[in-house]
Symmetry: C2
């Protein structure tokens, strides 16, 4: 399938409308999606990709907006992907998103998009990875990937980014306890946001204690403080992000992350394509019969899958 | 591969050690896993499967324990699966789990297991589904599936249960706002835990307002209040759970949920098996070459996958 001429060029120029359409193509498995990605592929690899993650209520959106604004002030083009696995049900992220979009819609140098599971064939991580690549191909200098929560989706999404900021806040108590376990291995940078609240010192002490318990790592994640609505600490955060980017380049980290992303990409696309092919070969009637058999307990799911694949 | 005689019979009798081993088999893709599930399959479908979900800090563990205790007092055998997608990194759930296990380890009528992503081939939802089926086959009357957070993993896990309780607490503010969007469509039952705290009335008003906005549903999810450490409201919760179970049976809901579970099961197993087969047919050298090509941008991932599948 050939691409419409009115998609590729406007996309490469960074036009928002073409970008939005291309992201939807990738999400929905449009017939032209594969050709589009193949054509863009040689142009990728320029953008800095930064993840901003942490628990709900940590102020990630405000912080993300402040970082975007600061990068804009330097003349960068900035993409924001807000990844929200909880929104598939009723589009929960949409309202907040619209408000954000109104505020910055006038600026062609910032592109913002909410990524939800609904309609994203092959999962949120794959759709997010596609959107990152489209923004990269469209000449965006930095892509900020903001996630909600600490589930497996976020873990997969985190593996798409080059630098991962984990945002915490003072006084979260239970939640920080619950989150802590998972963050040491993904954090390149800790941000204590709302640092003007009581308890910032304690969070910092806890983080430092966790770091000293963790195995010695080549990169020691710094702990920064911000008050996002006032923009406090954002300049320091930008410097720390750049430090980490430089460190990655100097220590082969970018190549390592590129390999990791390649593997993730390959695995998820292979799973999608292999399932599609197996189902097509078996035909809908046999797939339906297998599903009925599993549901009414006359056929176990492992045998059902073996049947579909072996006879396919 | 034939099953060791010392696994199937003790498992069917509900012996903890055999159960633990069988769950690990399924998680790790043991060569005997498929045969095990095929043999158990005709014996399934008796257990009531109840999900308990909600944000971190809502007191889900304590509530789960209280429900388990109340069901035990009626003579039921109860399985608890604690699903924690954040723990794969450093096994964060393990400590809390051990404390819980010590408390109830003496009772052979309660089996508790933490489900984390680490080592769970094919994802947490599939591993959880397998564990539910093993507990069902082992004669457990009720399986309580306790989850953390609201990511896609939880959504998948929720589709494994028959009745889904969403646990909220007064005064969570931002977090409830963030969670609300996703819960209307999964909740069969709302529990306001820590209901002795200020703000319980407000949470209830918000829930009722959400319900009145939602499309009319055949089942109207009740809103209950508990104070889990004191066991307050647990008896009422048990009655409401039974109400919902009866409603499901009377309205074809169990059959509908069985079909939904069958579909989920089939899809995830098919993806696993199809990928395994495609890789085996292509061979490791060609898979490696594809990964290198994607990482160094000489090959786009869609073309790489097509190459592996077409020539496989």
């Amino acid at each position: 399938m050939s691409l419409p001429a009115d998609l590729l060029e406007p996309l490469r120029r960074g036009e928002h409308r073409a970008l939005g359409r291309a992201i939807s193509w990738m999400e929905n498995g449009h017939p032209g999606a594969r050709d589009l990605m193949a054509r863009l592929w040689p142009h990728l690899g320029r953008a800095a990709v930064i993840g901003i993650t942490g628990p709900p209520g940590a102020g990630k959106s405000t912080l993300t907006d402040q970082v975007a604004r600061a990068l804009r002030a330097e003349g960068q083009k900035v993409g924001i992907l807000a990844v929200d696995p909880s929104s598939p049900f009723s589009g929960g992220a949409i309202l907040g998103d619209r408000i954000r979009m109104q505020r910055i819609a006038a600026d062609p140098g910032i592109f913002i998009r909410s990524m939800a599971t609904r309609g994203a064939l092959g999962g949120l991580a794959r759709a997010t990875q596609d959107a990152i690549d489209l923004l990269d191909a469209a000449g965006f200098d930095t892509v900020l990937v903001e996630t909600v929560g600490v589930g497996q989706d976020e873990v997969d999404v985190v593996s798409c980014v080059q630098t991962c900021c984990v945002v915490l806040v003072p006084g979260m108590g239970d939640e920080i306890q619950a989150i802590k376990a998972g963050i040491m291995e993904v954090a390149d940078l800790f941000v204590i946001n709302k640092a003007d609240r009581e308890g910032a010192d304690q969070v910092e002490r806890e983080l430092e204690a966790m770091k000293s318990l963790a195995m010695a790592q080549a990169w020691d994640p710094p702990v920064l403080r911000t008050v996002a609505p006032q923009g406090e600490g954002v300049a320091e955060l930008l410097l720390a992000l750049r430090d980490h980017g430089r460190w990655l380049r100097d220590h082969g980290g970018l190549a390592r992350k590129a390999r990791e992303r390649a593997r993730l990409r390959f695995e998820s696309l292979l799973a999608e394509a292999a399932v599609r092919r197996a189902k097509a070969q078996a035909g809908p009637a046999r797939v339906e019969a297998a599903l009925r058999g599993i549901a009414d307990r006359t056929l176990d799911p492992y045998s059902a899958v073996a049947g579909i694949l072996d006879e396919g």
